[in-house]
């Protein structure tokens, strides 16, 4: 019986449910409803309904895969954009810090002992908003899990392909399957609401950008006042 161990292929409904969870979108649910119109009916009647070489069950499986692929694409794109933002901010921070250090050296000569305050300020400005950091971490974890899931799947497939499994191999396979299932559940949890997280991230970024714009305008106003004061001072007779 050992040779009869089969790779547990997720059912079509499981795939689509996972995709719906991943996307968190009513669209996936709608696709499920459309499929529901034909699924079961043909099979129950013992019919093999074939359209262009694809029966309803194959369509269901393929649709589940397409929805999953689409959800993974979304996750990858968002992760890559979050990474790009991180790199951009690091570059901006490095440049600003270098300028602040040069300024601090000159400021010290004028007796300004808190010269590092400017450096601290620019570092603070360049920090990724806390909300965005959390989302980035969630996405990175989800991506790592997806990689682990893929690896597990490959191992199981290879082992199953050998047809005859020893007791030991079977135990390993069972462990892997159990682990894979845990990973799958974990992945679904991580994925859940990815879209909502992204929308929240967009709001968070826009909010912080608006705050920074307001602070920059306020600072520009102060700079103007400092220049005007310098003009008055220049006109004063020593």
């Amino acid at each position: 019986m050992e040779s009869e161990v089969q790779t547990p292929i997720p059912t079509a409904m499981e795939r689509i449910t996972a995709a719906a969870d991943t996307a968190g979108a009513p669209r996936a649910e709608k696709v499920m409803q459309i499929l529901g119109r034909v699924l079961g009916a043909g099979e129950a009647a013992g019919m093999a309904v074939t359209i262009a070489g694809e029966n309803a069950r194959e369509l269901q499986l393929r649709t589940g895969d397409r929805l999953n692929e689409s959800a993974h694409w979304l996750e990858n794109e968002i992760t890559s954009e979050a990474n790009r933002l991180g790199e951009q901010m690091t570059k901006l921070k490095d440049g600003a810090v270098a300028t602040a250090k040069g300024w601090a050296e000159r400021a010290l000569k004028f007796g300004l002992t808190k010269a590092t305050a400017l450096e601290d300020k620019v570092v603070m400005v360049c920090n990724i908003p806390a909300g965005l950091k959390e989302k980035k971490a969630i996405l990175e974890t989800a991506k790592a899990r997806a990689g682990a899931e893929q690896f597990s799947k490959q191992v199981v497939e290879q082992m199953t392909a050998r047809a005859s499994l020893t007791v030991e191999q079977r135990a390993i396979l069972e462990d892997l399957l159990k682990w894979q299932e845990e990973e799958r559940i974990g992945l679904e949890i991580e994925h859940a609401g990815a879209r909502e997280e992204t929308v929240a991230g967009i709001d968070e970024a826009r909010k912080r950008a608006a705050e920074l714009r307001a602070d920059a305008a306020n600072m520009s106003d102060k700079i103007e006042k400092r220049r005007v004061f310098k003009g008055w001072l220049a006109k004063m007779s020593a």
Partner: protein, 114 residues
């Protein structure tokens, strides 16, 4: 403008704390002396230049950061839009295929030819 007026204006400008303290110190010393000498005046000018420079760096960093965040938000919005389009395409494809299957199920199977 006399020194008293200068002191008053100084408090209204919004210099950074440390520069404001230094400027007040110089003005207070000048008031005690009864005049602002050239060296003290130059020192004040240099301090103001430094504070303007610091302010410019802060404002510039904030502007660039705001730009980066807005660009991040806009790109993510575009990604979501593309994702919606992908899923709309899946839905349309499924709708079409299901429609064909439904039609096929309505059509009675052809009678076997003998």
């Amino acid at each position: 403008m006399n020194l008293q007026e200068l002191k008053q204006k100084l408090s209204e400008v919004g210099f950074s704390d440390e520069v404001a303290a230094k400027l007040n110190e110089i003005v207070a010393a000048a008031m005690a002396k009864g005049s602002l000498d050239a060296a003290a005046k130059q020192q004040m000018m240099d301090l103001i230049d430094l504070d303007v420079e610091a302010g410019l760096l802060e404002a510039d960093t904030m502007e660039k950061m705001a730009l980066a965040l807005n660009s991040f938000a806009a790109t993510n919005e575009k990604i979501l839009e593309m994702h919606d389009e992908k899923e709309a395409k899946i839905e349309a494809d499924v709708e079409e295929a299901v429609g064909q299957i439904e039609d096929a199920m309505k059509t009675p199977p052809a009678a076997p030819t003998l």
